[in-house]
């Protein structure tokens, strides 16, 4: 745990981004909720409809809500043009603001409904206009309750904002997701402590404002408000204080190899004088669309993934032919450039422990199809939805007793602890060797090739300096080097950070 303090101290950038995101989402929530609450107090129908909507939003898991904004914004590009961001700050802001809506709205509506009718009659009786009644009576009397709602919203939002990492927005979720990937609990703990600490701080400051309203002590609420504004201001300055905005954005999907390769690319570019930013933990489809739309400039994908998921192809051509067709297809359909292959393959394959495979005489997928019906299969959260899996399943007529989703890291643990008997593993994973697993043969060639390829967004493809800086990576990494680097962050002991693993890989590859 000695590294915990350093890990927390290293989160300044993520903290600032987290504060800005949460504060913007709460502010947007307030801007929408308060007029809605005023309207609702004048119309029971509006009150019912708006509260029902906010409650409904609340039942959507925060992660799903964040993910849903990607296709929504993508379709809104028809209206707002291609410049509309579909990843990062904007979708995170909108999803979290929706999430913040309910507690603010509910408290504001309840506060209005519970105002002393005598006081409201008096407000009418002394001749207040609508505006005067709102500003002189209803607002000050509702303020402490509304503030309590804002407090609740703040705590929720700060917690949920950690999930913004998955749609490419920097937040305190970065260390949590990265740590979860590699079972680096120090990193997970650091992210949790930072976000919980932020939530507690925000809660106590907003609580001070609430108390100031309740006890009608101007000094108290002004003090609390000033502290909140100073904090948000400092975060804003830390994020945007004299920073240039032409950095190269490197994308990574949510598993160790991708994090390491992103750092490898980043280190090379930084050495060549580029400024870089990372968007980590993206889903496969999200990463591809993000690069196509220019949200990210460069990332690593795999031929089989593009072939089956983006191109929707079902046949399985030889390696070279598939690669050339993909390059042509990307150029024609997304404008992206496939710069080249990195030199190794990270295929999906069905893996079992060596003992179980030997004992049950499982050598190929065909054997499993024949005699493996009692087994439980585990896969990463994408695996069972992917066309490759469906193709393999149908090619062999696979049947299992059960199927379970695990994060890639836990999938290997599940195999060892017997929670799964067979898993959809990655062939470049260091744990295949370390955990003594066997990859079952695929005699019918149902799994496609998965050569790692470097993809450039249409904009990045035109940047000659960037292309030149990335060129040395092509054909430079063999699967042993990749496995070693992967294992260095995935193993239980002596874990390396992604940066360290990337340097190790760079050394092994002779870069």
């Amino acid at each position: 745990m000695s590294g915990l303090w350093e890990a927390i101290m290293g989160l300044g950038d993520q903290l600032a981004a987290h504060v800005l995101l949460s504060a913007s989402a709460i502010a947007l929530g307030i801007i929408v909720a308060l007029p809605l609450a005023v309207w609702a107090s004048r119309s029971p129908a509006v009150s019912r409809a708006s509260l029902a909507f906010a409650s409904l939003v609340q039942t959507i898991p925060a992660l799903a809500l964040l993910a849903l904004f990607f296709p929504i914004l993508l379709s809104l590009r028809a209206v707002f043009g291609e410049g509309l961001p579909t990843l990062g700050f904007l979708p995170a802001l909108l999803a979290l603001a929706l999430y913040a809506l309910l507690p603010i709205l509910r408290n504001a509506v309840t506060a209005q409904a519970n105002l002393d009718p005598g006081v409201i009659e008096a407000a009418h009786g002394v001749g207040m206009t609508f505006r005067q009644r709102l500003l002189l009576v209803e607002a000050p009397l509702s303020a402490p309750f509304i503030m309590a709602g804002i407090r609740t919203a703040a705590v929720w939002t700060i917690g949920a904002a950690t999930l913004a990492t998955t749609i490419g927005q920097k937040s305190l979720g970065d260390p949590i997701f990265a740590g979860l990937q590699t079972q680096n609990w120090v990193l997970v703990l650091a992210g949790c402590i930072a976000s919980a600490g932020l939530a507690i701080l925000a809660d106590s400051l907003l609580g001070t404002i609430e108390r100031g309203f309740r006890e009608r002590r101007r000094g108290l609420w002004l003090g609390g408000l000033t502290a909140v504004l100073l904090g948000v201001g400092a975060a804003f300055f830390a994020q945007f204080g004299g920073d240039e905005d032409d950095s190269v954005v490197i994308g990574a999907k949510g598993f160790s190899e991708q994090y390491i390769l992103a750092r490898l690319i980043g280190q090379r570019l930084e050495a060549e004088g580029f400024a870089v930013e990372y968007r980590d933990g993206l889903g496969s489809a999200v990463a591809h669309s993000a690069a196509a739309s220019g949200e990210i400039d460069v990332y690593v994908d795999y031929t089989g993934t593009i072939w089956t998921n983006q191109m929707k192809r079902t046949e399985n051509p030889p390696r070279e032919q598939m690669y050339r067709e993909i390059a042509r297809w990307e150029e024609a359909n997304t404008g992206m450039e496939v710069l080249g292959r990195l030199g190794f393959e990270n295929a999906y394959g069905l893996a079992m422990s060596r003992e179980a495979a030997t004992f049950g005489e499982f050598n190929s997928i065909a054997d499993v199809a024949q005699r493996g019906q009692a087994m439980v299969i585990g896969g990463d959260p994408e695996f069972f939805e992917r066309p490759e899996w469906i193709a393999v399943r149908d090619a062999y007529g696979l049947r299992f007793a059960g199927q379970r989703n695990f994060s890639p890291t836990f999938m290997y643990n599940a195999l060892q602890s017997g929670e799964a008997d067979i898993i959809g593993a990655y062939t470049s994973d260091g744990r295949i060797v370390a955990d003594r697993l066997v990859i079952l043969d695929d005699p019918r060639g149902a799994f496609p090739n998965y050569d790692a390829v470097l993809l450039l967004s249409p904009q990045a493809a035109e940047d000659e300096a960037l292309r030149a800086a990335l060129m040395p990576l092509i054909d430079a990494i063999d699967v042993e080097a990749m496995r070693e680097a992967n294992y260095s962050v995935d193993r239980e002991e002596d874990k390396l950070t992604f940066d360290e693993a990337a340097r190790l890989l760079s050394e092994r590859a002779g870069l």
């Binding site: 005598g118 006081v119 009659e121 008096a122 009786g125 001749g127 207040m128 206009t129 009397l141």
Partner: protein
């Protein structure tokens, strides 16, 4: 009921229905400037509804209400209400404003600031110390609060004072003292006052004209003297019987 020459507040065939229920049923009535009128009746007789149609807290379903020969619906709502002092049972002091701010709210709404001297003067009219100005409503007794309520109603120098069961929630001693005080102010400033009450004794002792309402209609319109003398019909006499019986019992006790 004949129309007096100098009608200040008049109701012309005024009705108010709430859904299927009729709260006020075709009331026509004239009140002269300077009168102190009590509206008496049981709960649900329509007396509060009738009163609230003057400052349009409730609008009539039919008929007209005229104030100083002008239909109240032709006067801008805030302006109408600022012309009329309004005191009611739940008092309705603004809990987030101190006594001085509560009293000054009417003038403030129309853009004038009440001087501390004027606030002190209004406080002394209702027999409160000028130092009370900085107190918050929740630090006051019920009686003190309603005194502030009366001072607030007088702050705009109204000609018309509407009171909806103003003393209903007060203890008998406070109630008596504040009633007397309001009567004195009514005389001092030449106000026209309409007071809704369910307490016939209060009506008889304060008002110079008592209207008795039943099922949305005015069933009697008499002076207190006439009511005590047995006029006004059966419903009126039923209400007068209560204080009369109490007075008789008290007289027996003191014998």
């Amino acid at each position: 009921m004949t129309k007096p020459a100098c009608s200040y507040l008049s109701f012309d065939n005024v009705s108010r229905r709430f859904g299927a229920a009729t709260a006020v049923d075709g009331v026509s009535l004239d009140i002269a400037k300077g009168e102190f009128v009590a509206l008496v009746g049981a709960s649900g007789s329509g007396k509060s509804t009738l009163l609230k149609m003057v400052n349009r807290l409730i609008d009539p379903s039919g008929g007209n209400v005229d104030l100083d020969s002008q239909n109240v619906e032709d006067i801008a709502l805030p302006a109408l209400r600022r012309r009329i002092g309004y005191v009611f049972q739940s008092i309705g002091l603004f809990p987030h404003m101190d006594v001085g701010q509560n009293i000054a709210i009417g003038p403030r709404l129309s853009g004038t600031t009440l001087s501390p001297d004027r606030i002190g003067e209004l406080l002394s009219l209702v027999e409160l110390e000028p130092e009370m100005t900085s107190r918050m409503p929740d630090e006051l007794s019920g009686g003190q609060r309603q005194r502030v309520g009366v001072a607030r109603a007088l702050a705009n120098d109204p000609e018309l004072l509407l009171m909806d069961e103003p003393f209903g929630a007060l203890d008998p001693v406070t109630r008596d003292a504040l009633g007397e005080r309001v009567l004195a102010l009514h005389r001092e400033f030449g106000l026209t006052t309409v007071m809704v009450t369910h307490d016939m004794a209060e009506a008889l002792l304060l008002a110079d004209r008592v209207l008795i309402m039943d099922a949305g209609r005015i069933v009697a319109d008499e002076t207190p003297e006439a009511l005590v003398a047995g006029e006004g019909g059966e419903i009126a006499q039923g209400l007068v019987a209560v204080p009369r019986h109490q007075a008789d019992r008290l007289a027996e006790l003191s014998r």
